[in-house]
Point group: C2
Chain length 320, copies 2
């Protein structure tokens, strides 16, 4: 393939944090937040190599090696697929804390992919980009799941019916829904939180869970907030993973007391999310959840998003 | 309470057969068929006792003892709840084969309850009647599940989010959906089919199942027949229970080859259902399924219903 000529252009893209699982939907539900989100600055070149020039906001914790960084893995696999003899230099601005349960690795990968796709003239759709982001997830946490990367790229609420195809179903949300995510200053490695799960579940618990995933979807289509509230329950992952989060029970209780429809672990934690009807309720819930974490000895950072939140987007496009 | 005076009136009511589970929704999904369905003739009296005078169509197999018959148990528990010093005489016309997986016991209970409620001036709604029918299910198969009785009483497609409350969610169906049920001449006792299930399931299978229950509901709301087709899969109960049904694999394959959206076991079997788009497809599917059963050495009876099908109803009201 003839070497492509590049204008010396830098694309800056954003991709949002995401809440995976959403209580009942372990490994199958995910939704985008408005904020926070990682940003990637990307410039294509003819080097044939992907290079991460710098990472900001990570306190020096993330690897600059391309094959160990989700942004690097995602772009490398995208360029390989497109058979582009193309290189890229990227700067990753981490705004999401790693190991928070808010889809940090997915956010970096999604931002990088959207920037690269834009720089190449958008040969692929957002949905087409998902397999490359899943490949990056495999590097980050050992399995190529889509429940963070799909909403990070597409926005909104996504049901991963089948991660193998992948078969992704975008679900409409009612108009007045807000998501509060409170991230306490403590870390759970995703791998360990996954390993804590048993490989078998009781049939009765599984039945409860699939009744609730079905009911939550019905609640969203019906815009029935009470049905949403009744369905936001997790009898499979939450009982096992919540023990890693100091104060989980009291934070959850505080959210529900303050009017949240439901409250559970965001992804594998330690961040905890709550769904609320209305922005005022969301503000109160955020305050009460922070307060409860404080009582448990943890400082925390709250984020409030109106739902559905958009997926990854281009921030700027600058010629040098 | 003063003894109520009764006009010597006989109510005849119908309640439909039902398909429980509907592939992915083990213990949580159920839907009504148009036909077949049991009928109950009921006359109230002052005796304070419920009596089953006769049962037709059962080849003498069903018990006339009130506490061992689902129609008898349902009415007894209804009258006890209403604190009525009332008796009833009923004749049960079995049109549904017992042990077919088509909700035979639920149909009898639902027809009896609707007849009794009508005779009493309809003090309760159809939804209110469900707990009494569930009590009858406990007698018939050892657990008070609602996935047959709820659609038998309410019609349509019902999601049992929680059998304890019960929390029942009526789900809209797309306009051109048909259900084929083919009942082979062989019997599986419900208890044994339930006992064949393991008490634990693999987490990966459970995740597949709750992705599919969520996706099937989304498919129904969206009227997306292809999504419905992709979601009609059961990796939990079908692999275990299908071994009790001679020819299951070839019948299922025949249904799919003839254009069915999906095909699985009706309840605990041996009846097999298929969902189809359009009546012509349903007719072809019924023929091919019967043909495949015949090759496996079994005669069978097919039933085709347009969905959603109505729930239990009053047929006649006659004064003597």
């Amino acid at each position: 393939m003839a070497a492509r000529k590049f204008q010396s252009e830098t694309i800056r893209a954003f991709a949002p944090a995401t809440v995976a699982n959403v209580a009942c939907g372990f490994d199958v539900f995910g939704m985008a937040l408005e904020q926070p989100g990682d940003e990637v600055e990307l410039t294509l070149n003819n080097s044939g190599e992907v290079r991460i020039c710098a990472i900001t906001g990570d306190n020096g914790l993330l690897p600059l090696e391309v094959h160990r960084n989700t942004a690097g893995v995602a772009i490398t696999s995208l360029l390989r697929y497109l058979q582009e003899n193309t290189g890229a230099e990227i700067i990753l601005h981490k705004k999401l804390p790693s190991g928070s349960g808010m889809g940090s690795s997915a956010s970096s990968a999604a931002a990088a992919l959207v920037a690269a796709n834009e720089a190449l003239g958008n040969p692929l759709t957002r949905k087409d980009l998902i397999p490359f982001a899943m490949e990056a997830e495999r590097v980050a946490c050992g399995s190529a799941h889509a429940d963070n990367v799909a909403p990070a790229l597409l926005g909104g609420f996504v049901l991963v019916r089948d991660p193998a195809e992948p078969d992704l179903i975008e679900i409409p949300l009612p108009p007045d829904l807000y998501c509060v995510v409170v991230h306490p200053r403590t870390e759970i490695p995703t791998r360990e939180a996954r390993l804590a799960l048993k490989q078998h579940v009781r049939l009765t618990d599984a039945v409860t869970q699939w009744a609730n995933t079905a009911a939550l979807i019905a609640g969203f289509f019906r815009q029935d907030y009470q049905l949403i509230a009744r369905s936001l329950k997790d009898v499979v992952a939450e009982p096992v993973r919540s023990v890693f989060i100091p104060g989980f029970g009291s934070v959850r209780e505080a959210a529900l007391q303050a009017g949240a429809l439901g409250c559970s672990i965001s992804g594998s934690g330690p961040a905890i999310f709550a769904l609320c009807k209305g922005s005022r309720c969301a503000e109160n819930v955020a305050i009460e959840m922070q307060h409860a974490f404080l009582k448990a000895g943890l400082n925390s950072t709250p984020y409030i998003s109106a739902l559905p939140a958009p997926g990854a987007s281009i921030i700027t496009r600058t010629s040098d």
